[in-house]
């Protein structure tokens, strides 16, 4: 390879590196700045606070999450709520929030892309489910 050939190769390599760096920085900024990530974190945080509030209630209750929940999948397991995007097997930007239930309490339920979701406390069980509509646009007896 002569001098000219090697310098052209280096210029192409440098251009590729610059393009790659610009692309990566833009994609990192875009992924963090997108509102869906913030919405997922916020939803997980709010639902975990709602669960803590439900635990404090001495009786049974049904409450509706007051925001739109059509974009995400909500999975409630015993000690955590996970909010992630549908379709993806593993969503790297899924939002997790942990909570502590009293002994013998259980929490479960999965809701995928539903317009409204409800949290129901019956005895020592908290269930996440789609709100059952009794009348048009009205959730079933929310408190």
């Amino acid at each position: 390879m002569n001098k000219r050939g090697s310098s052209i190769m280096m210029i192409i390599f440098e251009l590729l590196v610059v393009v790659m760096v610009v692309y990566l920085l833009t994609s990192i900024a875009h992924s963090y700045a997108s509102s869906t990530l913030a919405a997922k974190v916020q939803a997980a945080e709010e639902i975990s606070m709602m669960i803590n509030t439900l635990v404090a209630l001495p009786g049974d209750a049904l409450i509706q999450y007051p925001k739109s929940s059509e974009l995400f999948v909500f999975t409630l397991a015993n000690d955590q709520i996970v909010v992630h995007e549908p379709g993806a097997i593993t969503d790297p930007t899924a939002a997790y929030r942990f909570f502590t239930l009293p002994k013998d309490y259980a929490a479960e339920g999965t809701v995928e892309k539903k317009s409204s979701i409800c949290l129901e406390k019956k005895g020592k069980k908290i269930t996440l489910r789609e709100c059952v509509q009794t009348q048009k646009n009205e959730p079933q007896s929310p408190i």
């Binding site: 002569n2 280096m10 900024a29 404090a56 502590t100 009293p102 002994k103 013998d104």
Partner: protein, 155 residues
Amino acid sequence: MNHKAQFDFTRKTIYWMFAGVIITGVMLTFAFTLATYKEKLLAVPPELKAELVGLRFMYNSDCFAYQHKETKVTHPGVIDLKKFTSAQMNNCYPILKEKGTKTFNFRLKLEQEGSEIKSNSYYNKDDFAIFKEVLVKKGDEITKDRLIIYVQEKI
């Protein structure tokens, strides 16, 4: 390839080795800065979260709220002194020892009564306190008291 071309090629290769490390560092710092900024924007005050977790201590009969034996009616805001024990605290707020330092821990004190209990990973690091006016049921007596909920955040 002559000597000068060889030297140029080697020099650029070494340059890009260093540049690769620096560029990776810049990108990681950029991602970390954005993640920190996002966390700050979405942060919920720990006082609010601790208050919501702490509600159970006063209102839930599986914690310390008084429940009538026969009617099974729970009296929110009335602390049953018989239940105010460490064992009941572990039933009400059962955190695993290994996860205990990553979440809230509580030290509950009834001001007039003087009784005090702690959750199982409370290491006397009071970050802030929540004050609640309560009634205390001791035998047949009901007295006014103040429940002080000392909160330990993550360690």
